[in-house]
């Protein structure tokens, strides 16, 4: 059965409708990316699916579904002392060995003793991912997870997510507006602008007139460029594991 299914989902902020009549589902092991212009309701859709805000319509989660959520940002109040090791233990404690392993994996092996508030943007994104992975999730939900990462870090981040998916079969639902980086890493792309404009494999969406209308022809070149780059990276990844590891540690 699907991990999360939404039927006729609508959300408004005050009187302004943000999402109207969205149907959505994601299967085990699937990578689904939501793209759309600013204010198109991408984050809102994620938050509504996870029950973080009030919505009309129906959202059904598979019973016992474990969600690993990586928010767009985390504003930590300075009044709350919170070292990374304590943060990773929320809400459930994990052994120091498990913590060390996952921190190494996401490429920040030395931050366990640091205060979360002292981390750089890139380090914080990785720690948030580490925390999400520790829960052994059935689905990773990532809301523009590469903010604060440089290009290299960004590529490594997505590569890591693909590796994790290959190893554990975790489903991935992410929001992004780095079209060219993300699109071909996805099994399915949902193009959102208050409603679902179009949906399908990256190729189908790229060629859809609705998508062209939103993003113009300009992205064509970048997308083609990326597809090439991505295929190339994938090739490396398949045959030479050290590439993936280096990349994960980069940044």
């Amino acid at each position: 059965m699907s991990l999360i299914v939404a039927r006729d989902l609508s959300v408004s902020h005050g009187r302004r409708p943000v999402l109207s009549h969205v149907n959505f589902s994601i299967e085990a092991g699937e990578i689904v990316t939501i793209v759309g212009p600013n204010g198109s309701g991408k984050s809102t859709l994620l938050r509504a699916l996870l029950g973080m805000l009030r919505s009309s319509g129906k959202v059904m989660k598979k019973p016992g579904l474990v969600v690993g959520y990586v928010p767009q940002k985390l504003a930590l109040d300075r009044s709350l002392p919170m070292p990374v090791s304590s943060f990773l233990n929320l809400p459930k404690p994990h052994s120091p060995a498990a913590q060390a392993e996952v921190l190494r994996r996401v490429g920040v092996p030395d931050v366990a003793g640091q205060q979360v508030a002292d981390l750089s943007g890139g380090q914080l994104q990785r720690v948030l991912l580490a925390r999400a992975l520790l829960a052994k999730p059935d689905i990773l939900v990532l809301d523009e997870p590469t903010q604060g990462l440089d290009q290299q870090g960004e590529a490594a981040f997505y590569q890591l997510i693909e590796t994790v998916r290959a190893e554990t079969g975790v489903a991935v639902l992410m929001v992004s507006h780095d079209l060219h980086v993300v699109m071909s890493a996805s099994d399915r792309v949902i193009c959102l602008n208050g409603h679902v404009c179009c949906e399908g494999t990256p190729h189908v969406v790229r060629d859809a007139p609705e998508y062209r209308a939103l993003f113009g022809q300009g992205t064509q070149g970048a997308l083609a460029l990326y597809q090439h780059a991505h295929d190339h990276a994938h090739h490396d990844c398949d045959h030479d594991h050290s590439t993936g590891k280096d990349a994960a540690n980069a940044g």
């Binding site: 938050r47 009044s79 709350l80």
Partner: protein, 263 residues
């Protein structure tokens, strides 16, 4: 040998600190200081109602403080500016309480005891109330610690982990009402917030982990209670404010210490 009343006063301060340490830490982390004030001010209205209806004072304050806390959290969840709304509610409740008390029949009421506490007049029954309330609140917070902490850190992360942040907020709201109800006799409506905030803020200067901060705040509360009572006896000063002054001095000392250490 300690006088009996002094021993009871010390036990009341120590008992109360068991709850104000962890609860105060959450008040600081969630920036609920003014929220605590409003709840405490509402307690005066609770006193008035209890007197008018011949109910136990603690019951009247508990009910009104809880109602106030609910109203305030409902208001802030509606996205209204908490600042102005809190001010209106807080001072209306305080003043309405003071006005209503003047209608209370029979015994003349010592207002300052409710505003500033009367820790030296704490009875055995008061002590039972303070300890029972404090242990209940500390136990509640210990039981839900991770959930409360994650909800405080990020309601979204909590929701994604199947924790209802609104329910955890309610736990703190209820705890606050209980602490206000049992501590009215000890430090009074005007100083309850100080008892919550100052030890926790002092603990923040030296604590690097959440649980350490909560425990340190308890220890500081104990030290401040004992030192304040001692000072009050020594210099014949009012006991409740003396305890707050003692905790303020601890705050100052730790702030200077941590500033020097970090430079």
């Amino acid at each position: 040998m300690l006088d009996d009343f002094l021993l009871r006063a010390a036990l009341a301060g120590v008992g109360l600190s068991i709850a104000t340490g962890p609860l105060g830490s959450f008040v600081v982390w969630r920036r609920m200081a003014y929220f605590g004030d409003a709840t405490a001010h509402a307690a005066i209205l609770g006193v008035a109602l209890a007197l008018l209806m011949s109910l136990p004072i603690w019951l009247g304050t508990l009910v009104i403080a809880f109602a106030m806390a609910l109203a305030v959290s409902w208001m802030s969840s509606r996205g209204q500016s908490p600042d102005t709304g809190l001010g209106v509610l807080s001072f209306s409740a305080l003043s309405a309480g003071l006005v209503a008390i003047s209608f209370a029949p029979g015994v003349r009421v010592d207002l300052s005891a409710f505003l500033f506490g009367d820790i030296l007049a704490v009875t055995r029954a008061d002590l039972v109330l303070v300890w029972a309330g404090a242990i209940a609140v500390a136990g509640l917070i210990a039981w839900r610690w991770s959930r409360l902490l994650l909800s405080t850190l990020s309601p979204d992360l909590a929701a994604a982990s199947d924790i209802n942040p609104a329910r955890e907020g309610l736990v703190l709201t209820l705890s606050l009402a209980v602490v206000v109800a049992v501590s009215l006799k000890v430090v009074g409506a005007l100083l309850i917030s100080a008892m919550l905030i100052i030890p926790a803020a002092a603990a923040r200067q030296v604590a690097m982990r959440p649980v350490v901060m909560a425990v340190t705040a308890v220890l500081i509360g104990w030290a401040a209670s004992l030192a304040g009572l001692w000072g009050s006896l020594q210099y014949d000063t009012p006991a409740g404010p003396s305890i707050i002054v003692a905790s303020a001095l601890i705050y100052l000392t730790l702030t200077v210490y941590s500033t020097i250490r970090n430079t």
